[in-house]
Amino acid sequence: MNQIVVKENKRYMYFLPVFLVLALAVASINLFNGAIDLDLEKIMSIITGGVPSDSPESFILLNIRIPRIVASLMGGGLLAVSGLLMQICFRNPIVGPYILGISSGATLSVGIVMLSTLSLGFAGISPYMTVFASFAGAFTVMMVIIGVAARMRNIISLLLIGIMLGYITSAVTSILVAFANAQKIKGFILWGNGSFSGFTWSEVNILLALGGVILVVTFLFSKPLNAFLLGEEYAQSMGVNIKRFRLGIVLFACALAALVTAFAGPIGFIGMAVPHMSRILLRTQNNRVLIPSCMLLGGLITCICDLIARTVFSPAELPLSSITAIFGAPVVIALLLKRRYSL
């Protein structure tokens, strides 16, 4: 721990405000651009009620665009923090929030709802049912992982069990797709691409409230997280109950990933790449700095990716996961090639 404190630099004092300003700047660009381009005067007029609330500009800004921006900032941040926790827990730089099958679990239960509701006797599917199914799937996998984590001493075994769970759920999803009606597969594929499109305010509120609470609790654990980085024995000597602590990390990481996936579908690479970018830019392993950094940088990058997804070929919308992958994969490749730091 002393080692970390001694090596601590003050780069975060510059970088964290820069991340915040950039995130706000990208959010503003998002605010102005879309199917209708809005200028500052118009936006202010809409916000202050100068424009009738039933006008298309007002509806688009207040009910489509702003919820989407807030969701992408918050969702990206939560995924990045989830990835950071996973990387600390498994001391493995290539794990991300979905490594333990969270995304596959969510995808399977959404697949059950979207592809087989008719055979189960429902006429159609409510979007809330999709959200519920997604969260239920992610939560079920999470509980299995927690159950296993409580018994396992070996962290690598837990990782492997998580990966196996992911394989099983993906395989069952593939079987569901194989027997599904072709017309229904379209919607399922779209969900699987991940997107912050169509976020409602109630969904944003849930994301902010639940995500915020988990985030604050995670931040409060940054000291034992730092101790954990230096080895389980060291953490134990600092009074950390390793079994419970590891369980807590997995729980928080899974809950954050499940929360975002429930509303936005699986969004790849943010959770894996952003923690690395934070470490490189801030040149630190201190989680007290990395958690807010991941939150800001994750939100910033996701917001940029979302802007690209919805504006580059506007009005066509690109799959968000493709944009995040195009952005994230080179980072991971560069890291593997350079290996400039270690966990």
Partner: protein, 353 residues
């Protein structure tokens, strides 16, 4: 050495193919049909060449990379309902169709449903997971598919595979003329001419009658999938038909090679001013009322066709009626301009309640 071989084959191919009459050349996007002395040369959606030779006759020599297919083909596997519907149109469905990629529950045609039960027609697996052993066992003369991924496998099996989709021809003209591309495989060129003439006549008639339309209703063609929206681009045949029918396609800034996702904002804007909306999904998927659509995405409640009630969904039979394109076109025209074309008969579409 390979280079010279390529040059020689190309030269011979050129000599052979240039013997074809220029007048009989037909091009439909990437599809080509060239009538030659004793055979027909067909190019599919990805430009592969097929030499169609009447049964009992010898194929020409030095045909290069082209594949020989003996006509009329007697055993056909078809991926698309479009290709199957032309078999219905030619009156040869019962004789030639031996394999499909849709299960019994997905068909409305009674003969196909029964044949899938009694084994006369084989379900060879969903398009994404074909049972190649079953396919081979079915002994097709030819496979019509939009899936280019199966080409290498079927090439190895020595089964001619024809790609029936192309990015370069999505429009109404291609939709009308497509029948001419499949017809030579069945030696039904004359019938194809009749179909094509009928379709063209219908399109011209619709265009002529709707030219005088005073108000041109604005139309969107797409569907909502929870928080996402898929729409037809302006260059799709249905979008062009909307214009021919005296309407305006509201999403005229959307260009693509197939249906594509657009932002919710753009869909909302289009929906605010649209008079009519056509959806993709048939009632079979459960989205068969306006209420269901509104549950799919609350933004649907805000769009004009939802309020005015002008939302239409295809019936299952629509997907098996490409050989009745003229009827389909008239029904779409009557939905868009009932004052000109009369009240729709709702044979291919339903008005959502």
């Amino acid at each position: 050495m390979n280079f010279f071989k390529y040059i020689i084959i190309t030269a011979f191919s050129f000599m052979i193919f240039s013997s074809c009459s220029k007048n009989s050349f037909e091009s439909i996007g990437a599809f080509t049909v060239k009538k030659c002395e004793g055979y027909t040369e067909v190019g599919d959606g990805i430009g592969r060449k097929f030499i169609l030779v009447p049964r009992g006759k010898k194929p020409p020599e030095n045909i290069g990379e082209a594949t020989v297919v003996y006509t009329p083909v007697k055993r056909v596997i078809a991926y698309s309902t479009c290709d199957v519907s032309f078999l219905m149109g030619f009156g040869i469905l019962k004789q030639v169709l031996v394999g499909v990629t849709q299960e019994k529950k997905d068909w409305t045609n009674e003969f196909i449903r029964q044949s899938l039960d009694n084994g006369k027609i084989v379900f060879i697996g969903q398009s994404s997971m074909i049972n190649y052993e079953l396919l081979k066992q079915t002994k097709p003369d030819v496979v019509f598919t939009w899936n280019t991924a199966i080409v290498p496998v079927l090439d190895k099996m020595k089964i001619p595979v024809i790609i029936t989709s192309t990015d370069s021809a999505l429009g109404l003209e291609a939709q009308i003329k497509y029948v001419k591309f499949v017809a030579p495989f069945y030696e039904k060129e004359k019938e194809a001419e009749v179909f094509c003439g009928k379709f063209l006549k219908a399109a011209n008639d619709i265009r002529k009658k709707s030219a005088a339309a005073g108000k041109r209703p604005r139309v969107i063609w797409g569907d909502v999938y929870n928080k996402r929206v898929l729409v037809e681009p302006k260059n799709a045949w249905v979008s062009e038909l909307v214009k021919v029918s005296g309407g305006e396609y509201e999403l005229d800034d959307v260009q693509g090679t197939s249906c594509l996702e657009i932002t919710l904002e753009r869909f909302f804007l289009a929906g605010r001013t649209a008079d009519v909306m056509f959806t993709y999904r048939s009632a079979k998927t459960g989205i068969n009322t306006k209420k269901q659509l509104a549950i799919e995405n609350p933004i649907m409640r805000k769009i004009k066709p939802m309020i005015s009630g002008n939302i239409y969904s295809p019936k299952e039979i629509y997907y098996e009626s490409y050989h009745k394109l003229d009827e389909v076109m008239y029904e779409i025209a009557s939905i868009i301009q009932p004052a000109i074309f009369g009240e729709p008969k709702y044979k291919y579409f339903i008005k959502l309640k």
